[in-house]
């Protein structure tokens, strides 16, 4: 088990939990749901933020938020 910020570019995993309730609510409304497959599409040139995708949803989040998301290795 790792947190999302530890994933390398193009790596993927399954969302296990989102620690922060508010963040979980916001992410679920943008298509990122516990139990779904998540991919780190791109890491910004300055190493932060990152673009993550889940199905056809694609959002940019900061690494700080990514630490709140735990993922299961595939």
């Amino acid at each position: 088990m790792r947190t999302l910020d530890q994933l390398k570019q193009k790596e993927c995993g399954t969302i296990l939990s989102i620690v922060d309730n508010q963040l979980a609510l916001q992410l679920i409304s943008m298509g990122f749901v516990i139990g779904e497959k998540i991919t780190v599409d791109r890491i910004a040139p300055l190493n932060d933020p990152i673009i993550i995708s889940c199905g056809s949803n694609c959002v940019c989040i900061r690494k700080k938020e990514a630490t709140l998301i735990t993922v299961d290795d595939e």
């Binding site: 508010q22 943008m30 933020p49 056809s56 940019c60 900061r62 938020e65």
Partner: protein
Amino acid sequence: MSDKIVKNSTSQALRVLLVGNPNTGKSTLFNTLTELNQKVGNFPGVTVDKKSGYLRINDKSVSVTDLPGAYSLSPNSEDEKITSKIVSETENNDVVIAVADATNLSRNLMLVTQLIDKNKTVVLALNMMDLLQKNNQEINIDELSSQLGIRVIPLNAYVGKGIEDLKQAIVSAQKPTKKFIESSEFGSLDDNLIRYKKINQLVDKCIIKKGEDKNSGLTKKIDNILTHKYYGYMIFLSLMFLIFQAIFSWSSYPMEIIENAFLQLGGWLSEVVPQGILSDLIVNGIVAGLSGVVVFVPQIAILFAFIIILEDTGYMARVSFLMDKILRQFGLNGKSIIPLLSSTACAVPAIMSARTINNTKERLITIMVSPLISCSARIPVYTLLIAIAIPKDKTFGMFNLQGLLMMGLYLIGFLAALFAAWIMKIIIKSNEKSTFILEMPIYRMPKWKSVGLNIFSKVKVFLVDAGKIIIAISIVLWGLSSYSPGNRIEKIEEKYSEAIKSQNGNQLLMNQNGEYMNEEELNAHIASEKLEASYAGIIGKTIEPLIQPLGFDWKIGISLVTSFAAREVFVGTMATLYSVGDSDNSTSVREKMIDAKNSKTGEKLYTFATTISLLLFYAFAMQCMATLAVVYRETKSFKWPVIQLVYMGALAYFSSLLAYQLLS
């Protein structure tokens, strides 16, 4: 009796609200529905732009309101708060059109099913059907409609397909036939998880999958270049360079036309309206004030055109992605890039666009520092002063020195904004978590008609918001510079009219060349003397000791006072002060200013040191009532505009002081 009729007609008029996720083509649909019948106002009590318009369905007038994009009814930003508030306040006969992206049905249905469970009269407008077709996918519309219990209209807002069906669906819309889920606690995480699972089952039933998502494949390829660690920044910087080139080269011609048109209008009015206070007020107060606002429309329109295109194509989200880490060091946010860029046209719409920033502190800092970025109103001041400070053909290597100084002023404004942001990041305390979550939409061609309508409505906001304040202040300033305590101004008039009579014509005063002044020169001289005696002149002389260390005299003091409403007024005031009869002739203003002597020392006034000091003052000082008003509106408190006025004033004063003392 008449009251009753009005009430009846408003309660019967159909009201339609457009709700949907960002990037679903909601605004394009709004523009397609209402075309030019739209206006921008404010939602009562809140500060978000209310875009509303009218359309006719079966000869009935229907009002349409475009609500800010939202992902759910549990708000995460200022924009989403408004949407959920307005939706919760809808009445029974209001129709909510939920606009959804057909290529991303499951996510879009989160909001749609929340609307259903709130028992709103919902019509689902399934947009982007063309992209769905490209992916070789199909949605079983009837199945979707019966599963959700609402009408579903497939459409392509880009080509206007399905619009007629949507209109008919609006007039015959019903409440949902059933609830989507029975939830114990609406909006909670559990509620949303249950919702999500049920949506997935439903989408599986309704989507007839044949192909795969082609559009996001293309988007990823484009992203490889546009967000590349070197090319990404290079492309962004060259794009900015191109935009500024375009703004300055394309706008000069229309700006000239507008200026001339207002001059002619002023001339015509002064002939038509009987001479006197009224004519003076109209020509020198109102028309001059109006002209000062309208003249910036070309620059603002061009800049907004670029910003809207960059946003509509999806590029702006990538810029935010690239810039977030850098901007974060200064207490800003990747999303701050839009207000910061818009500020180069005008801080008023820029500050309004800061609403998409979820974090209050970052939004506030963005609002506070945006006016430090050099806006288009500073250009005429910069142009005039640079021409005084540096000879035209002086070069530094291969670069024109005047151009370099202009660029330097933009750069210094930008750096000052970052510096101020950094200070505020340290000072302002906030317990709120700083979040930055931004959807990366797929790249898409903008719809040009919609871009045009968006530019139109943004320019309208600028004209109305900035315009009414500038005109009001112009009138006040006109009063300050046309009246004096007691009857000093009348005495000057008497003195000269008697003198002219007794001296047999105009042989009254010598000009600089030792000849008698002609009538025009004499009138200009009288105007200058009147201004000196007026309230504005008194203010200028009163503040002279304060601004002397900056290298300014009382005449510059007057200009500082008159350009408080809007910076560009500086040029006009200088023209009056230096007795240039023909106030639009900036060449002669420049020459007079170069020749001007300090009234105390008798030395040249506009030395290099004074001019640079003055340039810095105009770069930093908060001389814009319209901006202060919009900051008040956006922050809902007097505290922030006052702090802004004071900190920018202090920054201007001390940097001018430093520059003058070092250079002189």
